[in-house]
């Protein structure tokens, strides 16, 4: 399954090569042209029959960490790449670098903690990775400063509909784009797989340059907080209610005309959808919209619980409906 392969591969911001390779292998013989820019963004052009150009966008990178320093006893000090809540870090398993060296973020056993320590969140700078070595010299045989670090978590289905994995944000987007590119549409498609979204929409900042599409649709993974202890009005998005259409988020106000087309298409084709009920979070649209002389953007997202953790959860039907919605919108562009 394409989504599974994408999720199981490692591509921390700044190190998207392996993801780019999977994408290239999937689409190279179904598109007219492919190029990669100096930042690493992958652009795929698919000609259609009419004159409309639609830009589709998804980011290839995932949140993770880097090796910051190696201490005298061999322990590794690390820094997060992208936004990771430090409360999820204690006792997690990770993999370092090309060799996927296994390691663990270990903390002091509960028996040795003071009452104060038991209730206080440990900051990232006070956490360390143990790869089993005993000295700085030994650790440096296996690991270099700056090596990327990923959560050690495999894609798997919990039920026949619900899947858990790391990096669903935004391999769901990459997977939708790949599947779309394997189909044919009347309009021309420019699919852009961006880099470094998680560290400040860096790839997106240059992706819109000189493309001049009629519209751009960004396909993302977004927060679903439809969980225990949260009031319904705080859900943002919910699993099982279909793709989430953004109106306004931390980075951009979606183009009303485009959103209207998307909503009409969903209604016409009986595709379940929801609105993203919250204005938090940013994504590539924030930069693409103000690229060049301005691009009309909209964001369609797959709801993800526990986003930016090793165990993010989606409803695969939401993924399928997201893909379907992008399909119908593209088919209706005249």
């Amino acid at each position: 399954m394409i989504l599974e392969n994408l999720c199981n591969e490692i591509g921390i911001s700044g190190h998207e090569e392996k993801i780019r390779k999977i994408i290239y292998n999937e689409i190279s013989n179904t598109v007219n042209d492919i190029r990669v820019d100096t930042l690493g963004n992958l652009y795929a052009y698919k000609k259609g029959k009419n004159n409309k150009h639609i830009m589709l966008c998804a980011h290839m990178d995932e949140v993770g960490f880097v090796v910051k320093e190696v201490l005298d006893d061999g322990a590794i000090s690390f820094a997060s790449v992208g936004g990771i809540d430090s409360r999820i870090l204690p006792s997690k398993s990770i993999l370092i670098g090309e060799q996927r060296i296994p390691g663990i973020i270990g903390v002091k056993p509960i028996h040795l903690q003071t009452e104060d320590e038991r209730t206080k969140v440990i900051k990232e700078e006070d956490l360390f990775i143990d790869i089993g070595t005993n000295s700085k010299e030994e650790t440096l045989k296996y690991v270099n400063l700056g090596d990327y670090i990923s959560f050690n978590s495999r894609f798997e289905f919990l039920t026949n509909k619900i899947a858990k994995s790391k990096a669903l944000d935004d391999r769901v987007g990459c997977s939708v784009l790949i599947e779309i590119l394997k189909q044919n549409f009347e309009c021309c498609i420019i699919a852009v797989f961006t880099v470094q979204e998680e560290v400040g929409l860096r790839g997106a900042s240059v992706a819109g340059f000189n493309l001049k599409p009629d519209y751009a649709i960004i396909v993302e993974g977004t927060t679903a907080s439809d969980v225990s202890g949260v009031e319904e009005y705080e859900y943002i998005t919910s699993l099982g209610k279909g793709p989430a259409i953004s109106i306004l988020d931390g980075g951009s106000y979606s183009n009303k005309e485009l959103v209207s087309k998307i909503v009409d298409s969903a209604n016409k084709n009986n595709i379940k959808f929801q609105y993203k009920k919250g204005t938090t979070g940013g994504n590539d649209a924030g930069k693409i919209q103000i690229s060049d002389s301005g691009i009309k953007t909209a964001v369609i997202s797959v709801p993800c619980r526990y986003i930016h953790s090793p165990s993010s959860v989606i409803n695969i039907e939401d993924y399928e409906n997201t893909k379907k919605l992008v399909q119908t919108v593209l088919s209706e562009i005249k």
Binding site: I104, T119, V121, D130, I131
Partner: protein
Amino acid sequence: MWYNIQYHLEGGYILDIKEVLEQLTNTYSASGFEHKIIEQLKESFKPYCDEIIIDKFYNFYAIKKANLPNPNSRKLMIACHIDEVGMMVKEIDKSGFIKFVAIGGVDAKNLPAKEVLIHGASTIKGIIGAKPPHLIKPDEKDKVIPIKDLYIDTGYDYDELIKVVKIGDTITYQAHFTELKDNKFYNKSMDNRASVATMLEFLVSMKNLLHSVDIVCCGTVQEELGLRGAMISSYNISPDVCVVIDGAFANTHGLSKGGIFKYFQGPAIAVGPNLHKNLTNYMIDIAKSEAIPYQIDVEEGNTGTDAWAIQISRQGIPTLLLSIPLGYMHSDIESIVIDDLKNTAKLLCKFTTNIGERIEKLYDIRESM
């Protein structure tokens, strides 16, 4: 057969202890649910003992009779707890999320985004979740989310979930046996399966050694809940001497004060009021004379292990404690080094082959003067 038995160079049998450890730590038996590990223990220990007994609390006893004359029927008990920390289903809310409580000392810090297994009518996987960070109030940002505010997400709807899971079902960490550098391994429940693997390696080695005491290898239940199995089993066996094997805190990063032990330096032999001074000194002498690495664990009072209960069982039982250096205790990434397990088993063998005579002296009042 669970694992490869390789021929030892000198003609005996040795175990592939790494494989044993993997099998044991991949089995799920939270406190109170130890019946889950009994079949595996039976199969593992059966070839090396004369009799296996399981009592009504699922304490496990593998008995190997003395192969030298034992006129006074002296018994040496080796005790390891076979339970692990875990959680239990407290409530299933209408959206299908599971609220839970801890069984044993589980640190709430380790739980968010953790993969767990719920052992209901069938075993299903869940993810431990909490209120997302963007919904946390500023004054709550630095506080660890307590267990009562966590929940488990299985992906099931309420109606489907209640067919499989009910209140009281046990929950454990997902096992993930992994090798690190330096022959170190991590998984859940190294506390105390590492000791059980050590006890098996000891029993396998004893098959070809002479001993004048009956050996009872005992897997005790519910240690994490208050040494319950230890109380019951030591009463049942009434041994002359008991050696408890458990885990000790290894010197992982940031830990260095007293009571912390080094990987590769062998078992930590405990000294203090909970342990029998004379026999403990004897254990230390054997380690020295046989050049087996060891460390000293100073325990000024309650050792926090089965030894505390066993020492005052029945008329009192001389007790010793050997601890294996173990990192990140009570998490699902508990770490040990294979060398330490092997050295602990070796020390136990040397102790057992020579203990007969010392036991007789225990009952001689002149010895305590």
